[in-house]
Symmetry: C2
Subunit: 104 residues, 2 copies
Amino acid sequence: MRFGYFGSMKAEPGHRDEVVRILLAAAAGVRDAGCHLYVVGVADDDDQTIWVTEVWDSKEHHDASLRLPETRAAIGRAMPLLTGEFTSREFTVLGGLGLPSGPG
Amino acid sequence: MRFGYFGSMKAEPGHRDEVVRILLAAAAGVRDAGCHLYVVGVADDDDQTIWVTEVWDSKEHHDASLRLPETRAAIGRAMPLLTGEFTSREFTVLGGLGLPSGPG
């Protein structure tokens, strides 16, 4: 079954857009690692928080991606810009609209 | 800018899978209403909650979809099966991987 993740991270004041750029650049590189979806969002009423929604072939694909050199480099660039406040929810993707067809 | 939504709903005990079927059927019909993504998920550690992630052309498209007869019918079928506990987070989609290209 495909693995879904929805989470948020909070940037230090003034650094949200820089973190967004890091995430969008990283998103472009994870398709080959089994990532189907990596959506980055922000809200008008919160100038520090960034929301990310991800769909992967499996949790194992997601976890393995965190060990890729390019992912580790992106995390290394973003972490100093973050407050350390995160939320996350993992789920099993059952289907819906807009995902490529495939196993799970 | 495209509109994103991540929310959860809680089904009465034993009714989660029925609600999932209602949502998946409804998801198939909203593409023409400006919906790019409608992902339905559940988790092994919670047999009542359903998570939904959506991306729309705009918040106006999303709001208008709630007034469609087929959406209202789906809501009417699902509501009696739900506890009334919801969470939601709206956000502006800045980009990422896996979304069709387009405005916003």
